[in-house]
Symmetry: D2
Subunit: 312 residues, 4 copies
């Protein structure tokens, strides 16, 4: 179950009543505020709060440029300019706060983005639910042989099924033992009054890394885009990418001009090295440079040719 | 002049129209949003945007503590608890964005707080206004002899007047020369078509440090409180303290429970060293420890006795 | 096993050869550099590199204070002054880089300190060793009833033994399944050529949170002290406190004056709230204030009386 | 004067005595350690301390990749790989501490890089020297008309001379008044015993932005490279670029492999937008796309054609 009935009731209540504000409002964002978007088998992303919109980026940029921007009368043009020239500070003037439910191994990757504020559900204070991630059959893939950190072809159905069974069985067993050691009913009573209750901060270590945790995660738009550029990338692990893609959709609703500029100038583009740039220039001049003269490695060369739509 | 007519018109327009939102609203903050609070002779602080309120701190804390806080049903108590035990992360879940007009030498102190987002008016792009800070006569004070970084008694009126004249005359002269070198009218035309216009990025270096600049400054509530604990402190230079005190007032309107907890547990309290704590214990036990046996320096001892309301 | 034979050989080699440098050297730190200090059952902390010493703090402070400090000719006095007045920036001028081996649940607490640089062993790239943490019998304690996040009395020996068995059995089983799914020998060959090898990034989710990971962790001295003030504190979970205490010992060797000042002015001291300070003043003046008139909660009052060495 | 005799004596003493260390040593860096490299008319950059070298980057990367990198036996290849794929954390494992003397207006740009530690000479504590920056005649340039934040052609010699005279005269006058208000001899006595001494924290506001300040600035290699990518760029103001170029030279001595990779993969390369990439592909396929069909602005198109070595 992704959202508990209590959580759903809270979301419904929050969406029921609008109040007046003198702040900037993003109507696209208001339409999805508080709503939980499902991710993976039990996870979700939902926006709890936000500050600013496309216009707030423009407003901040104009403080910097002062009278200099009087004539820049088109927001889209200015946002594209800022994104293209990596003038990042105006994008820091918008903020987003998310409530995320995610497997612990995903949380471990995610937390490496340091420029964010986090409040995580504490298993020292409270008891985690019996909810763990098991990849769907179409995600149970073999280790890539070319890329040490990737996956490749799917496992045959029977092997995938066996993997899923193992993950499920182990997760259930460790949880049963977790609760046995805690010796506590959902009502906070002792299951078995003849035994002590192990400290929660100890018992939790018996859980596997696919158990779900939750947190509030707050960051500014610049750092959100940086997160997305790394985690919505095909090289990111599928499980965190699933979150990043949902967050990309949310970003389009929140700040449509910024999101479009981001896809044009960052996500959809490519960085050429000095050597690669030189190769492109020579090719455009009608030459056919050989890799050996360029200083590029075979792998770099292959990636460049793929990027340029040429056979390698 | 603190606020230009254009700025005031913009403020009035922003305050005229409330729109509905599903976000948390702080009514205290809404009442002052966009309004420019004057500081010093030409400066101001105004809130441009904010995220969250007292309840948002509680909400974030409850994510961390999960079911554990079901029974903690009083927001004030939880906020006090968090402040007292320096559980700082829930306070990071609120955010504020200010528009500040301030002298450059104040901006130089302020910017040392790194955990904030900043967009400053750029004198590479635009021309600064003829606005500079001159301390009022009741702030023109002599160098402290006991504290190398403080001020002490006021200067006699005639000497203070002379200082104010110097500051004013020098500021005017450097500005006249700044504009002469820029050679540009307010309409962007050449003053004197027979001369070149010096690059703005060069001309600006002729201005003195009391010229006013402006910026958007955005930070979270935890870092705002940290700023206030240092800059609303009597040891802070008067000019930045004037801004901090205005921001403290704003904080009371925004998050009244947090602001009260901050004054009780941080601003109004004191930190005792290990030795000082030992001295207090001994005194409460009826002893009269001598400084020499405590390892404390004369200065530390004097400060402790003052803190405890004893003669040193 | 704490350190592998390969790691020990590397350490021995690193400690064998000193080379000349023109940099500041801390002789206390050199004596322990590279050495692995055991923590918990398989963990360790070892210093890989460092920058600066006590004198570097003083040197940085004197840049700030310029000629103003010409007469401050005693390093200890200046360091105490800086620590006492929370002038933190000079402490940021020293840096330390640690290699740490630690259980994943400890790593999850540790990583919340954001102002550090981290390179962690990646289980997407490589296979984790069969090493997991099991608390010793004298750490298997019951949930505290007064403090939701603490532990209390030890479990009776038989119950503790049962808990340790569960932790051990579950850790072994999930590891066996982890390796079965990976289907890879230590030599990188397929265990069972008839089966595919599951992607490492997926298989790892089957491990429990007490498995050991490793990382390089680099931070400045100010942030190290902040870490220690939170993690060497009695309220910290025992397992991370064990690391913090080892790091505190290392800090004494590295920067003895700073470490002593830290214990005097921060670790060993206490913060009094405004109300508590008022109570202390009244008590010292011979009054016997009643809690009810102070605005303090029963818990605050109790903690204050304990701090002051009075019966509550 | 760039370096005072006292500073030079200190530098000579520091370079005179090497001591043994078990740490990693960069011989290239040792050869320039402590030496002051002149920048602009009175400024300098000198390395005060450092941590790590090329090998430290590799070492940190191998912790992350564990056994996975056993076969990557060439440091250069791994460093290039990390730089190319923006795996930035291993570069954070090296640290550098600089002593910099720079004009205040340059310091104001520089400080916007927040991920660094700073101790600046304080004009609240001490008196600034009579040293200010005046651009050389070959830097006195006119405002760019195409780029609001740049300079263009040099001013004619007579106009440049007039600008230099103004900057010099104004700087001298404000300094004389600064010292008059301070009323303090170099020996710390009153110049004029009949007058009070104005507080230093007030008097300093009378100085112009071209006065020199000094600071210790410490950052990690990743953030240093980020600084260099922005400040060694032709769009950066000449005055800060002069510092960045000196720091680039130092970086080559310190970590030659990293510096070379940085120039190949970042400084010397270029980022193509999604549309630009599409244009390049079409051109390589023999097409001649018209700007109008690409969605690119005239400016973007012009910049792309210049980048590709084509006439626009």
């Amino acid at each position: 179950m992704t959202v508990t009935p209590e959580q759903q009731a809270e979301i419904d209540a929050l969406r029921a009543e609008a109040v007046p504000t003198l702040r900037t409002v993003s109507t696209g964002m208001e339409s999805v505020l508080h709503t939980a978007f499902p991710v993976l088998d039990h996870g979700f992303v939902r926006v709890v709060d936000y500050m600013g919109d496309d216009a707030a980026v423009v407003q901040a940029a104009r403080v910097s440029y002062g009278r200099g921007t009087r004539k820049v009368n088109e927001d889209r043009g200015l946002i594209n300019y800022l994104m293209r020239h990596r003038h990042t500070t105006p994008f820091e003037m918008c903020e987003i706060k998310l409530h995320v439910k995610l497997p612990i191994f995903v949380a471990r990757q995610w937390i490496r983005h340091r420029t964010a504020n986090v409040n995580e559900y504490s298993a020292r204070y409270s008891i985690l639910d019996r909810e763990f991630y098991v990849p769907a059959a179409d995600q149970v893939a073999a280790q890539s042989t070319s890329n040490r950190q990737g996956r490749e072809a799917l496992l045959p159905a029977d092997q995938a099924g066996r993997v899923m069974d193992i993950l499920r069985d182990d997760a259930r067993r460790v949880y049963d033992n977790y609760r046995w050691m805690l010796n506590e009913t959902d009502e906070g009573e002792a299951e078995d009054p003849t035994r002590d209750r192990l400290a929660r901060e100890l018992a939790r270590m018996n859980l596997t890394l696919n158990y779900y945790t939750q947190w509030y995660w707050k960051t500014d738009l610049h750092n959100l885009l940086h997160f997305l550029s790394l985690r919505a990338d095909p090289h990111a692990q599928y499980e965190i990418r699933a979150y990043a893609e949902t967050m990309m959709d949310i970003t389009h609703r929140w700040v449509p001009l910024v999101a479009a500029a981001f896809e044009e100038y960052r996500l959809g583009g490519a960085h050429l090295s000095r050597s690669a740039l030189h190769v492109v220039r020579r090719m455009l001049a009608g030459e056919t440079p050989a890799r050996e003269e360029t200083g590029m490695s075979p792998r770099e060369w292959r990636e460049l040719m793929t990027l340029l739509g040429r056979e390698a």
